[in-house]
């Protein structure tokens, strides 16, 4: 099946895929730290292992972005 992953169409041989499967295939090491939209709708993080991704679907994922400025500066 063909799925658009982060804007790029990709072909998968698997008959069924979940959001969690796709994140693993996409080498996301910390799936708990990404937000996912499937066909423009947010997917609840707890539902990644059970949410099916179907042929012609569009899935986007973005990492959590955050940080802090003051404590523990890195000396590089």
């Amino acid at each position: 099946m063909k799925i658009k992953v982060n804007g790029k169409e990709e072909v998968f041989q698997q008959a069924t895929l979940t959001v969690a499967d796709l994140l693993k295939i996409s080498r996301v090491q910390q799936p708990d730290m990404v937000s996912v939209q499937l066909n423009g709708e947010f997917v609840n993080r707890a539902a990644y292992p059970t949410t099916r991704v179907n042929d012609a679907d569009e899935i986007d994922f973005l990492y959590f972005m955050g940080g802090g400025g003051i404590h523990g500066l890195h000396n590089s």
């Binding site: 986007d60 990492y63 972005m65 400025g69 404590h71 523990g72 500066l73 890195h74 000396n75 590089s76």
Partner: protein, 131 residues
Amino acid sequence: MKITRGVLSQIIAHARKEAPLEACGYLAREDGIVHRHYALTNMDHSAEHFSFDPQEQFAALKDARASGYELCAVYHSHPASPARPSAEDIKLAYDPTISYVIISLAGGKEDVQSYKIVNAVVEHEKIEIMD
């Protein structure tokens, strides 16, 4: 990282506007040069921390994509500390594919630096300003 002088000025202006709170956003490139920034809301509304609003993140992603741009970096400001990643910056740098740009306003002086952070290893990268 190659960035236009205009975008560099805009993100510094964003940092100044938000100070003493931290400012944050995305940088987007085309043909290897950052031509656009997306100023996002600091959900923490803090002088010491920032986090993105996921709704705004996806809106930026889709706008950039529709315009032929690629999100290539995250920027945030350090209103009162140097342009080096903090321990928290490093801990929360989950995306190994992008650059992390820090704008310091410490001491009233502007300093902008860029880094790659992969598995908590910080690598400084040169910023080339394009006119």
